[in-house]
């Protein structure tokens, strides 16, 4: 590790199919991660975030007004990068192992 690579933060990303079901999830991610940005390649929505990205169940439930099981993300999940840390309330991606 030299000084120039320490300061650069690797980004993580997650991509979903761009549909009705994943929209509240995307909105929740953008609400919870100030530095996250969404891009829309054909048929997909891809969210990049520097360093860490978190998906909170509570935020998704606020968006939809319905109970949400975080495992439901996987239905529309296409691809992701980063180490996954998940429990019943949060699903996070980061490079800290």
């Amino acid at each position: 590790m030299n000084a120039s690579t320490v300061s650069a933060v690797s980004s993580v990303f997650i991509a979903f199919q761009d549909n009705e079901e994943s929209r509240p999830v995307v909105d929740a991610i953008l609400a919870d991660n100030a530095q996250a940005s969404a891009t829309y390649p054909p048929g997909l929505v891809k969210i990049n975030a520097p360093g860490r990205l978190v998906i909170r169940r509570e935020t998704i439930e606020e968006q939809t007004g319905q109970r949400f099981n975080l495992q439901q993300l996987h239905v529309n999940l296409v691809t992701l990068s980063g180490y996954i840390d998940e429990d019943d309330d949060e699903f996070s991606l980061s490079w800290q192992h």
Partner: protein
């Protein structure tokens, strides 16, 4: 020959209906908003209704509550027809499973006779109260204004019909011959039920849809459901061998908690609009909560005996706290 395939990205010109975009801006919108916002017809009604010529066919003046935007009374559950039916279908499946469990193990026969009689006597007349609630929510839907307010009222009306049907089915399952007739007879003639019956029948002719909403969905149901299903069925019957009754009425407390979120959200938004609204809704709430408490006193007495009055007072305290949380001055 060489065919070159390329992916082309086509940007949609508009992301949602203009009537929704007027509210939320032009971005992709939820099915709930698209089914709700800007659906209410607002102009060009041509004729006034012959039965109420002082009003237009759809008229905000039918209620004393004043709202600049009737679409603001959103349902936090975000129910529109499709997801409401799917949610209820799931709950119906759970209830069917409960019935199967109870019937396959003969749990009904294991209920002591005293508890079985108590369940029949307390629950069967409530079919008629649930039917009254169904009628009242139909009235809210027909006289109210704004799809955000009226559509969930219709769902709520149908849910009340479901409650009445579950009680009917419970009466048949408990196998008391004539349990349903006895319940109707009590509702019509037993002095214990006449106060509640009078209240239900008085609300049937309330003309103001929002007043009716407060009377039926907040005051009366807000006391009745916790008293009957939490205090009587779950805490009283179930511990004395009546678990089967709790299983066969499992829908009611679950549904009451879920729909209370909608009721509270509507009250909260309407009361926050102006001090006039707040004062008006608070008045209605106090009036009808007092009436409902008096009407349920003899029922609580029959259901819970000596603890009846105390349980009813607890339920009233909890309801007042709920109303305060929704911004009423109680």
């Amino acid at each position: 020959m060489n065919i070159d395939l390329q992916a082309r990205e086509i940007q949609p010109l508009r992301h949602t209906f203009a009537r929704v975009a007027a509210h939320t801006g032009d971005k992709p919108s939820s099915r709930y908003l698209e089914a709700t916002v800007g659906v209410q017809p607002t102009a060009n009604f041509h004729y006034r209704p012959t039965w109420e010529p002082e009003f237009e066919l759809f008229d905000t003046a039918r209620t004393a509550v004043k709202m600049a935007d009737w679409d603001a009374l959103r349902d936090p559950r975000q129910f529109y027809y499709a997801n409401w039916t799917m949610a209820r279908a799931r709950q119906q499946e759970a209830m069917e499973a409960n019935y199967q469990f109870v019937e396959s193990r003969g749990l009904i026969d294991k209920i002591p006779d005293t508890q079985r009689a108590a369940a029949c006597e307390v629950l069967m007349p409530l079919r008629h109260a649930a039917w009254g609630a169904n009628m009242n929510n139909c009235t809210i839907c027909s006289r109210g204004y704004g799809t955000a307010f009226t559509a969930p009222a219709m769902f709520h009306a149908m849910d009340h019909l479901a409650v009445a049907q579950y009680i009917t089915r419970l009466g048949l399952a408990l196998g008391e011959p004539g349990a349903l007739d006895a319940g109707q007879n009590d509702w019509l003639h037993d002095p214990r039920w006449q106060v509640l019956r009078r209240l239900v029948e008085d609300t049937l002719v309330v003309q103001d849809p929002f007043e009716l909403f407060v009377a039926q969905n907040l005051a009366l149901d807000g006391l009745q459901y916790p008293l009957i299903y939490t205090h009587f069925v779950d805490d009283h019957l179930a511990v004395q061998g009546g678990t089967a009754v709790a299983m066969l009425t499992a829908f009611m407390p679950e549904w009451h908690d879920e729909s209370a979120r909608w009721v509270d959200a509507v009250i909260k938004v309407a009361a926050a609009v102006s001090d006039d609204n707040r004062a008006l809704i608070t008045d209605w709430f106090k009036t009808y909560a007092d009436l409902a408490q008096a009407a349920l006193a003899p029922v609580a007495d029959r259901a819970l005996g000596a603890q009846g009055a105390e349980a009813l007072a607890d339920v009233r305290t909890a309801l007042d706290a709920r109303a305060r949380k929704s911004g009423l001055v109680v």
